[in-house]
């Protein structure tokens, strides 16, 4: 049995109000719904949420938005969840829109110990507001700083007992990046296999990044 295996309740027991939480997935493909369910249950609020999008009102990060658990959201797209737009316009929730490739690099930088990256994306648009512009070899770039979080809630296909993870198809997206960038990383998985069953070359997220494993669909009593 994996030493990292927890129930959802155990895994998120120490998540406090006001925490910064990264959540994997792309329009709910590769989103840890069981962990989101637990955040809803335990009534954690004032969260800063970081994710590609805000899902749908009844799925993914969208459920946390509808339940008003976020004080701030960083995402590249909120169009599939009208409630996010409503809260943004009403001034109820701060929404920061970030180009998708920039968000990916910011999260990766946070995990990789980099202070940030220089990207050409957003130059000449409102995205550049308040950011440092740096010229390298005659081309202008925006300095986009690293992002880190208290928690990363991610979804993987399979784990071994050490927490090594593999992903399936389009569910990978932000999950391996977020796995690097948070103090506590909880991976929701379909299946846990014995150590040695995954080939070292096929592992995408080494287990050293993973704090806890939770089985998808597992409920606490």
């Amino acid at each position: 049995m994996s030493k990292k295996l927890r129930t959802p309740r155990e895994a998120l027991a120490k998540m406090d109000n006001g925490a910064t939480v990264m959540i994997g997935g792309f329009l709910c493909v590769g989103t840890p719904e069981t962990l989101i369910e637990e955040v809803l249950r335990k009534d954690t609020k004032d969260l800063t949420l970081i994710g590609n999008d805000t899902g749908f009102p009844d799925r993914g990060i969208g459920r946390l938005i509808v339940a008003k658990r976020a004080k701030k959201v960083l995402a590249s797209h909120v169009g599939t969840n009208p409630e996010t737009g409503r809260q943004m316009h009403a001034g109820e929730t701060e929404v920061v829109l970030v180009p998708q490739g920039t968000l990916a690099e910011q999260v990766r930088a946070g995990g990789a110990g980099l202070g940030g990256v220089l990207t050409p994306t957003g130059v000449g648009t409102i995205v550049e507001e308040g950011k440092q512009k740096i010229t390298v070899n005659g081309r202008e770039f925006l300095l986009e700083v690293a992002l880190q979080a208290d928690y990363a809630l991610i979804k993987a296909h399979k784990a071994d007992e050490l927490g090594n993870l593999v992903y399936r198809r389009a569910t990978r997206n932000f999950n391996p990046l977020m796995a690097m960038a948070a103090k506590t990383v909880v991976a929701e998985v379909e299946e846990i296999v014995p150590v040695g069953e995954l080939d070292p070359d096929e592992i995408i997220t080494p287990g050293l990044f993973v704090t806890y494993l939770v089985k998808r669909g597992k409920k606490d009593e």
Partner: protein, 218 residues
């Protein structure tokens, strides 16, 4: 002309721009249609920014795989030889100039090749998603859009909406015309068989440079 008829024509014309071996990213909505008009046996490689290359046609009903969707969240397939990756790699491919062509919708385009397609202040603010990276990173940016919106021109002297990217558009394809963005300005290359140069000029706010104009293949 019905909306669908216009959109089909645009998609069909853009398909001619895509050659075997090219890596192509098709935006959500109208650009997605382009895939339907690639010749059978086409070796255009479609990149899906949510995390793979080798985007294939929609699956047969009942054969959907919930883990295989396009950037719009719709079920798709992965062709043999496709490859999956994370979002950092996906945008390394996009930003790094490894996508030959991206096809994107637009709210406005202007004479400098500026593009606005991600927000209308105070109204629609869905977010830029991957559009800013695609526009800056792809080697060639093709805008696919209807020529006007509610009778008002979308090809302007200067964009009025917040930009997606500055000076990145290379080609504009509408149901009426094909327009190339050059350092000198917008060059009218083709007009549709059911319209005239004068009509296209009338429906375009931007100045069009007119030399040899061909009939658009539709």
């Amino acid at each position: 002309m019905s909306k669908d008829f216009a959109r089909e024509r645009i998609a069909r014309r853009i398909a001619h721009e895509l050659q075997d071996g090219m890596v192509v990213n098709l935006g959500i909505g109208l650009p997605t249609w382009v895939a339907n008009y690639l010749p059978s046996g086409s070796e255009v490689l479609l990149q899906s920014e949510n995390g793979f290359v080798g985007l294939g046609p929609a699956p047969l009903p009942g054969q959907e795989d919930p883990d295989v969707t396009n950037a719009g969240g719709q079920p798709v397939t992965i062709v043999p030889g496709g490859a999956c990756f994370d979002s950092a790699m996906s945008f390394a491919i996009i930003r790094g100039g490894h996508v030959d062509v991206t096809v994107l919708g637009a709210l406005e385009v202007d004479e400098e090749g500026n593009l606005a397609n991600w927000m209308v202040p105070g109204k629609m603010v869905p977010g830029m998603g991957g559009a800013m990276d695609l526009t800056v990173g792809a080697r060639r940016v093709i805008v696919a859009m209807e020529h006007t919106a509610k009778g008002k021109p979308k090809i302007l002297k200067k964009c009025t909406l917040p930009l997606t990217a500055r000076q990145q558009v290379d080609l504009i394809v509408t149901e009426l015309a094909v327009i190339e963005v050059t350092p000198q300005g917008l060059v009218l290359k083709e007009v549709a068989p059911d319209t005239t140069v004068a009509e296209v000029v009338a429906q375009t706010e931007a100045t069009l440079i007119i030399n040899t104009v061909k009939v658009m293949e539709v």
